[in-house]
């Protein structure tokens, strides 16, 4: 666990330890006997001898609160521990073996959950009579199914993970798998559950004691103290205050600790804050005053940053390319190359954490005037999204809202841009245009009723509804089977022909797909475009060593051995100085690491970011 994640735990952790220490130390602290009565001075206010006053029998309130902590905490911890051991065991066995074992462990224990918790405790108390031992037993019974549920769910998901299967494949005995592989990996949520349970057990214990069915008087207990003080609240309202404060404070500290612990153990970390579309910050330097190239889309010097622990990290640097009407440009690169962020920047849909810091994105809208999308206010940008430019996404099963009918989502594109009449018919026409077999039925279907390829067709229908000038496709076939991929690629090519002049930016990692559909290609590596040009030319004669190596490493043709690129893509916060590809480049020389190379023109509408491009071939 990283230090930054532990820091929020310190405050509640220290407070919880202090409360526990106080309770443990009660016998050695110089306290008055908590059960010694002094009826003469009953309901006396705070004094030098009795700091918090005396209760309805004249007992010392401070002493009773500290001794009460002992009772409450020991009952809560004992019950939580017993529940944790029993519940975890049940859940682990049930989740691992499934079938009959699951029925006998997890499902059987869940019957307890059919009872409201306090009621079950009352039932046990009726039968066994009140007392601390009864309390521990009934609370343990109550909370064990919770642990069983958590352990079961965690085991179930961990069990499907490959590293558990790998243990089975290694021939590891079941006990070894359960103890050494599963238990450590399901522990974090169980620890959270434990601290949750301690707090919940304290609440229940105090509730039962308050009803007079928990801890037996005269033992000190916060619930009992509140019960006692309640009857005397007209004369001494302050008496009510102290145990309430102690109880609430302790539960609050435990809950706080638990919340922070959950955040610290959550691998996803906390939510990043305000979502992007609710407001955009436009803190950009003024755009370069050079005239824009007469093109549909031109991206110049685009640079994107994300905040990092040691200052902003540049994830996309000085990216530029142009696209003429009717052209298809493929942005190709490996993971971490910045290709997807570049695409999202064009749409103005960057995640909240990613900030454009330089460059401009000029798009010629439907009226022909180029606008800088990076500097456009959100309402104007929104008017262009789905109308001048549209986007399709990688995973059609998550990019459609599962709760809305497909037709409603396609119609949304029309409605958002002022169409009000005949939406239903136009949606059906669109769905027919993208090749859905039964468009009337598809329009009223929910996304889960369609197959993956059909969903992607529906997404495409929504994107082309307003005849956009630019279609952005972010890995639109990666999640699909290869025969379906071929269908979608064919469909996109047909649509481009039908929508005369529509340009397409196609983001992909697959070179073969690029060769299939693209007129132009921009190859990205580690946040930079390293080569740009006509796709056929670039593939036939690459001018950057990375492009050349990428083509060589693609398993096609009959080469006996693939030529692999050594090493791995550098992380954005640890970029090599000079040329970013130099550490993996077979042609690198000392000068390459000295200074970052600039894009050099290598032919008509062709450029590469390499000092030695002339030697590449």
């Amino acid at each position: 666990m990283r230090r930054a994640k532990i820091r929020p735990l310190i405050l509640p952790g220290v407070l919880a330890l202090a409360i526990i220490a106080l309770a443990v130390a009660a016998p050695i602290l110089p306290l008055t006997d908590p059960v010694r009565q002094d009826v003469a001075s009953r309901l006396t206010g705070p004094s030098a001898l009795h700091w918090l006053g005396q209760d309805e029998y004249g007992r010392d309130v401070l002493s009773r609160i500290i001794w009460g902590a002992r009772v409450s905490l020991s009952v809560a911890f004992a019950a939580a521990a017993a529940a944790a051991v029993a519940g975890t065991l049940l859940g682990l066995l049930g989740g691992y073996f499934r079938g009959v074992v699951e029925l006998l462990t997890v499902r059987a224990s869940e019957i307890v959950l059919c009872f409201p918790p306090l009621l079950l405790a009352l039932l046990v108390v009726t039968l066994l009579g009140p007392g601390a031992a009864t309390l521990v037993l009934s609370l343990a019974i109550l909370f064990a199914p919770g642990f069983a549920r958590v352990a079961y769910a965690e085991t179930l998901s961990a069990r499907a993970l490959d590293y558990v299967t790998a243990q089975q494949a290694l021939g590891a005995p079941t006990a070894r798998i359960l103890a050494r592989t599963l238990l450590p990996n399901i522990a974090p949520p169980l620890i959270v559950q434990f601290s949750l349970t301690v707090a919940a057990a304290m609440l229940l214990e105090s509730g039962l004691s308050f009803l007079g069915l928990g801890v037996v008087p005269p033992s000190p207990s916060w619930g009992l103290m509140i019960r006692g003080a309640r009857s005397a609240m007209e004369q001494a309202p302050l008496l009510l205050f102290w145990p309430c404060l102690a109880l609430t404070g302790t539960v609050l500290v435990l809950n706080l600790f638990c919340d922070r612990l959950r955040d610290a153990l959550d691998p996803r970390g906390r939510a990043s804050g305000k979502p992007g579309f609710l407001g955009r910050v436009l803190a950009l330097p003024p755009a370069p005053q050079t005239p824009a190239t007469p093109a549909l889309l031109s991206v110049e010097g685009l640079t994107l940053q994300v905040p990092g622990p040691k200052g902003p990290v540049t994830v996309v640097r000085d990216v530029g390319f142009t696209l003429a009407p009717g052209e298809t440009l493929a942005i190709v690169g490996e993971s971490g190359s910045g290709k997807t962020l570049t695409g999202l920047a064009i749409m103005g849909l960057l995640p909240a954490a990613v900030r454009p810091v330089a460059g401009r994105i000029m798009l010629a809208g439907r009226d022909g005037t180029p606008r800088d999308l990076l500097r456009l206010p959100e309402p104007e940008l929104r008017a262009m999204r789905g109308r001048d430019m549209a986007m399709i996404f990688q995973d059609p099963s998550s990019s459609l809202n599962p709760l809305l009918r497909v037709g409603a989502q396609v119609g949304e594109s029309l409605r958002a841009h002022g169409v009000t009449d005949g939406i239903r018919d136009r949606v059906v026409t669109l769905l027919r245009q993208v090749g859905l077999p039964d468009p009337e039925r598809a329009a009223v279907a929910y996304p889960h009723e369609l197959s993956g390829g059909q969903r992607q067709r529906a997404m495409i229908a929504a994107a082309i509804a307003n005849h956009p000038r630019l279609l952005l496709a972010d890995e639109p076939t990666t999640a699909l089977d290869v025969t379906v991929q071929a269908q979608i690629l064919t469909l996109l090519a047909e649509l481009k022909r039908a929508e005369g002049g529509m340009g397409m930016v196609f983001v992909t990692h697959n070179l073969a797909v690029v060769a299939e559909i693209a007129d132009r290609v921009a190859v990205m590596y580690a946040g930079e475009v390293v080569e740009e040009g006509p796709a056929a030319e670039v593939f036939a004669a690459p001018r950057h060593p990375y492009t050349a190596a990428l083509i060589e490493s693609t398993p096609e043709g009959d080469a006996e051995r693939l030529s692999a690129i050594p090493g791995a893509v550098p992380q954005p916060w640890a970029m090599p100085s000079g040329c970013r590809f130099a550490p993996r480049c077979a042609m690198a020389e000392p000068a390459c690491t000295a200074a970052a190379p600039a894009m050099e023109e290598t032919g008509p509408r062709r450029a590469a970011r390499c000092r030695r491009w002339k030697e590449v071939a």
């Binding site: 059919c114 409201p116 039968l127 308050f210 609050l252 986007m391 889960h448 994107a463």
Partner: protein
């Protein structure tokens, strides 16, 4: 959809049966004779003749399976037996008090949702802002205060000190609607403090999570206005986890009524239960626990139906 409802219904009936059987078993299989237990007072051994007479009256001398059959048979006919203390039919008392508890629970749920849902959405949309911090902190506190502390302090401050409201009690709606509502709002509001905080928290984190989803970005890419996105693509999707969590908390909600009815002298089912527990009137305890548990199962069944209404994927199994 029909198959779905039928399946959930069968499961619910099965659960009620399991609960009834468990209550029966717990009473009869734990060590010690219930009759003896009932009659022993303060550790003094009871009169053997009295124990024998009580055993006879309760049918405890019969074989266990016969007792089980007659118990289930009675339940099917709506017969919960007679109370030990005064021989009145338990079912009558339950019928009288159950509506009052339901009223309390319903009002508490309503208040929680009316406040929790909009505030949770507002906090999520301004995550990290002042409003979010204030309400999140308040929710954290509200979750940590035991419900009987909230109730007792409410009585102390509003009734005893400020004398704004009566300290508790009950008036039938027909007799005095205004006073009835006033007396209802205090215990319901007390329960809603914790429940509302739960709803708020889940709604907030659920909205934050949905905002990150791809279909929200896709709607944005179509140029849909933010207000429409939140209404169509965020709120409904964010409701499912809220329903789940509220269902999980139904148990503590129903349990919470025990404490709150006690604090406010609300003559619902729970006060009856406490009295029965104190008197160790086990037929009464069994009956009440059974009714509340069945209610719990029923509410869970309704929650399952609610899922199906929200999410078409559930409907289609």
């Amino acid at each position: 959809m029909l198959a779905f409802v039928a399946r959930r219904l069968v499961i619910s009936v099965g659960l009620v049966w399991a609960v009834a059987s468990l209550v029966f078993l717990v009473i009869h299989l734990i060590p010690g004779d219930p009759a003896e237990l009932l009659l022993s007072q303060g550790g003094i051994a009871p009169d053997p003749a009295a124990v024998e007479e009580l055993r006879e009256r309760l049918g405890l001398n019969l074989p266990l399976w016969q007792q089980y059959v007659s118990y289930l048979g009675g339940l099917l006919q709506g017969d919960f037996g007679l109370a030990l203390q005064d021989d009145h039919p338990i079912v009558d008392e339950i019928a009288l008090r159950l509506p009052r508890t339901l009223e309390l629970v319903g009002m508490a749920g309503l208040i929680s949702v009316v406040f929790g849902v909009p505030l949770g959405v507002a906090a999520a949309l301004r995550a990290g802002g002042a409003l979010d911090r204030v309400f999140s902190a308040a929710a954290g506190l509200a979750l940590s205060i035991p419900v009987f502390v909230v109730g007792t302090l409410t009585v102390l401050v509003l009734a005893q000190q400020l004398k704004l409201v009566p300290a508790g009690g009950y008036v039938p709606f027909a007799r005095d609607p205004a006073r009835h509502m006033l007396l209802l709002m205090m215990p319901a509001g007390t329960i809603a403090v914790g429940l509302g905080a739960v709803v708020f928290r889940v709604m907030r984190s659920s909205v934050l999570e949905v905002l990150e989803r791809e279909h929200v970005r896709a709607a944005q890419a179509r140029g849909v206005a933010p207000a429409t996105i939140i209404r169509r693509h965020v709120l409904r999707n964010a409701l499912t986890p809220v329903v789940t969590v509220v269902a999980l908390h139904l148990g503590s909600l129903l349990g919470g009524t025990v404490l709150v009815e006690f604090v406010f002298n609300w003559p619902g089912l729970s006060g009856y239960l406490v009295r029965s527990v104190e008197a160790r009137d086990y037929p009464e305890v069994m009956g009440i626990v059974l009714v509340i548990s069945a209610l719990f199962v029923l509410l869970n069944f309704l929650v399952d139906l609610l899922y199906a209404v929200i999410d078409p994927r559930v409907r289609h199994g």
